[in-house]
Amino acid sequence: MVLEQEIPRFADWIGPALLAFLLTAGIVILAIGLIAWLVQALVCGPLEAGDRVYRGVLTGLADLRATSPGRVWALARLAIQEAVRRNVLVVLAVFAVVVLFAGWFLDPTNVDPGRLYLGFMLGATNLLVCTVTLILAVFSLPADIKSKAIQTVTTKPVRTAEIVLGRFLGFALVGTGLLAVMGLAGWAFVVRSVNHTHELPAAAVQEVRDEDGNVAGFEGRTSPGRGHRHFVALDAEGRGVAETFHGHRHRITPRGSGADRSYDVGPPEGILEARRPLRGPLRFLDREGRPAEKGISVGAEWAYRQYIEGGTGAAAVWTFAGLRAEAYPEGLPLEMTIRVFRTYKGTITEGIHGTIQLRNPVNQLRSEAFPIVAREFTIDEFWIPRKLGTVLADGTVRAADLFTDFVADGRVEVWLQCLEPAQYYGVAQADFYLRAGEGSFAGNYAKGCLGAWFSMLIVTALGVMLSTFLSAPVALVAALSVLLIGQFREFIARLFASQVTGDATIAPGGGPIESLYRIVTQTSITLELDPTPAVQAMKLADTVLLAPMRVLAGLFPSLSALGTSDFVAGGFDIPGDLLAAHGLETLAYVAAFCVAGAFCLRAREVAS
């Protein structure tokens, strides 16, 4: 699973996030206040304008304080009744069609069916729910204003904040109901779709005898199913686990004995999982074995993975911390996804060979090297046993204990090297981890749905806010534009950080002016510009331009950043820290949009 940024602890995240929120909110409020004053000043002069803006803000805040939960609930009920009586539940029929099509067209023989089905169902659910609530949100209030029904509401003791909150709450509840139904249906669909078994008739296994001629076990292959079959190696009693293939395995138990023996192949294990990984920082060594700032770039524009050269001293080194013998009594369960860059084709059906080695970070004691074969695009499992060998200075190997000899202060280094010359391993920090525990898949799926719920809440609040001052079609387009711009939020933040720190690796190519210069002069973004006075001036202008862009970017929610379906589909437990951060971010956007919507509605005439 791709994880471009490390997930911060909630306690570390909250401080800077709160500061950024307050800063953005403060700047935006000041800017809006200034614009409102300028507009009023044109009409009634600067002093009167100041008084009007001041009174408007005061009465607006008083209205917010006087918000009545009872009236909000009344308006929310109205929104729900409106949605239901306008046949919003038809979307469930659309969802049923989506499920049907998924059943027909998704490939059950896919190498990773869990990822395929989960990714599709969570994506479709998120898209449908967000679309429905957005449409409800943007069309409702303008329809009321057009039909003038709003006049019978605003002539009651109803505050604009209550109208906005009621609309938001109502449509959010509708969306929640839809999400619950779709989530449950999606769950049932995925579980049924990935579930399968194989046949293992007695004739398909052969006896394996030891040197004394006794039956040591059995081996064979299961029948084909879902486009694959498994090798099986059973013990003398006929029990065992089929070899992992397409990301899963089956437990096999014998039935009967002698000539009547047959085998039961259990359901797939390992498809629907919620791994809890323990990740550690990654560093690189160059071909000479010296510390390097980063690995080798093989020319891929996306620099997520760095590469190490095979057959040299180059290595990727992860340091895992917090290890205790009690937590891993049998050894360390490593999992990895290693990319390969081949400078020559070689035997394409075979993986590229390499080694894994443990090192004590304090005394640099090395373990024996464990051979591995990098199989691309799958998660390879590797077990480092508790008892292993260590290589002494004279090259001899002696027995050692994982925790006694290689773990120091709870830390251990894991070295990955590629053995084949002129071939490269591509790695990223998140690609290599210890499988520290297991979460409940059902719980993780629910957390994935919670991520979709956050998106739905933001989209609904955004739609309601825009509908307070725009007509329905314009509000819809505006909402979609806001969400689209939000997708660039992280990029703008990186760009600004790059400009301020002068670190071009964060976002190569520079700001808008520098980018334009590079386009015109056809200069590659990886090429450092000579620091002439003109270039310095250009960079300074970019920084000045990017500062307000950075603030503005904070106003645009990034739904992709909130999405957690990749975790669920990839079989990783969604960290609680991430979910808490997303929850708080959602709350901030919803609150900001609702307050803005209340002020916008208050500032407009609902009758003409």
């Binding site: 009409v43 008084d51 009174r55 209205d63 009545s68 009872g70 009236r71 609930w73 009344a74 308006l75 009920r77 109205l78 009744q81 409106e82 009586r85 306008r86 039909s147 003038k148 029904a149 709003i150 006049q151 019978t152 509401v153 605003t154 002539t155 009651k156 003791p157 109803v158 505050r159 005439e605 609902v606 009758a607 003409s608």
Partner: protein, 309 residues
Amino acid sequence: MPATPSPTAGDVVVETRNLAKVYRDFWGRSKKAALKPLDLEIRRGEIFGLLGPNGSGKTTTLKLLLGLIFPTSGEAFVFGRPATDVAKNERIGYLPEESYLYKFLDAEETLDFYGRLFGMPPEERARRAAALIEMVGLSRDRKRQLREYSKGMTRRIGVAQALINDPELVLLDEPTSGLDPIGTREMKDLIIDLKRRGKTVIMCSHLLADVEDVCDRIAVLHQGELKELGRVQDLLTVTGVTQFRAKGLSPEACEEVRAVLARHGASDIEVGHPTTTLEDLFLEVVRDTEARPGRRARNSAATTGPAGS
């Protein structure tokens, strides 16, 4: 800061000072002066009519009083509070021109919804909704969605929603619009009943008879400007002309009276039989028909001449 209303006007429910509204286009250019500076005082317990042709500024005045639109200049106060203060709406009932209601709700749901907006407890909401539905004659249609209602029925439920909070001030925009003569009469009776119960009513209409029948005072607006303001009786009284009414006079007695009047210098003497209004005639026919189904109404028969005899 806005000026506060005059402290001497304890009974003044609505007050406007130089209240004006100019509608502008997107660029702020003046499109139409819907209301020119208006000064009004409406007192507690009176029925006040805003009279004028279409586009004269009646509805604009109501919307300004309700805070639905903002004045271009001047001020409006309702119960001593600025018209834009939401708190004043606790004591107000408003019937818009077309009873703008939610068509997907039925009558009970409609009144329940508006009752909730006033923070009424559930029992009171239910009791009040039932009473109002009964009052406006929609008991049999209480479960039908408003989209299925006729215009008259929509008007009736509109009245019910305006009265859900038992308001002190009722603003009615063209209250008899869309109603048949019976509905019109019931509406006028309702307005008079509201006055009897101490409510203040402001209504705007271009139907002169309706205004004349129920209003204590009227303001006549034309092209956004106040043209007349005063008590209906005062405004309609024709000075310099004297009218007598009597029953049972013979033609000879009439001639004698005419001669007496002429002798006293009266001019333009008219003697004749007064006519009833078409509304009274229609209501009498309907009542008679309801009282004796299947039979032609007496008055109708009497006035249709030979064909009816």
